[in-house]
Symmetry: C2
Subunit: 150 residues, 2 copies
């Protein structure tokens, strides 16, 4: 068992947990006072960041380790929790690649973060080409159908 | 403050924390008995997974929130912890995209996971094209120099 603590929080105008229409959302990430501003030094050299965050609004009683239909939609096949990105998952951790728009003092402005206002951020990592897939990505057809309004 | 628990562990032949030569490493991820085998149902429909894990061997006393030279190498500029992927970081969380080779019962075989034998895994997420950058990735030049032996 490990403990984790927010290093900052998300600030945006999205209040409700929703699955769609996140692609154009602009969010701020405010780094906590406890963490030095210099933790962001040099971050503006990157176009993309991965934000690791905590699904603080997900209901732990809904965490399933059995197979479920993504989005509770029977149109999609029943798959295990690690074959989908459902929020109610063991450890409640989210990870999203965003575009960095600006960085000033202890504040980042990013686009494409699918996290509601107030979400605790637990890590920020720069995206490096060398760590992205360099070969074809294969994924089930239903996932693209599911994400068509993302 | 949140608590997280391993959902499984890494098994491979890498014992020492090292920065380089991870690209070809083959690892197994053994899902814990507490988590149902069905948590992996359908995972073989994906070519790539993101493994979220815990840097259990990193020294918490080395966690820096001030700017440091990546790999303690003065050849690289001093940058903040969130502008680099150093292991000794707040919350000690790692995130790596790997290639899925096979999935049998409670065991995944993957390549490219930069985690030593015994590393606790805290989440597994399928990689979806829709969530990867669809525009050019910009990163500082020194990062590619640093990763040339990766």
């Amino acid at each position: 068992m490990y403990t984790i603590e927010p290093i900052g929080f998300v600030k945006n105008n999205r209040i409700n947990i929703e699955d769609d229409y996140w692609g154009d959302v602009i969010s701020e990430i405010i780094i906590s006072d406890k963490i030095s501003e210099s933790s962001l030094k040099g971050i503006d050299g990157y176009s993309h960041l991965e934000i690791i965050f905590y699904f603080h609004l997900a209901d732990p009683s809904e965490i399933s380790i059995s197979a479920t239909h993504p989005r509770n939609n029977k149109k999609f096949p029943s798959v295990g929790i690690f074959a989908q990105r459902r929020k109610a998952r063991p450890n409640l951790i989210g990870a999203t690649i965003v575009k960095l728009i600006s960085s000033v003092k202890n504040k980042l402005v990013v686009s494409g973060l699918d996290a509601v206002n107030g979400t605790p951020v637990i890590d920020i990592k720069p995206v490096l080409r060398e760590f992205l897939p360099d070969d074809k990505i294969i994924q089930p057809e239903w996932t693209s159908e599911m994400l068509k309004n993302y």
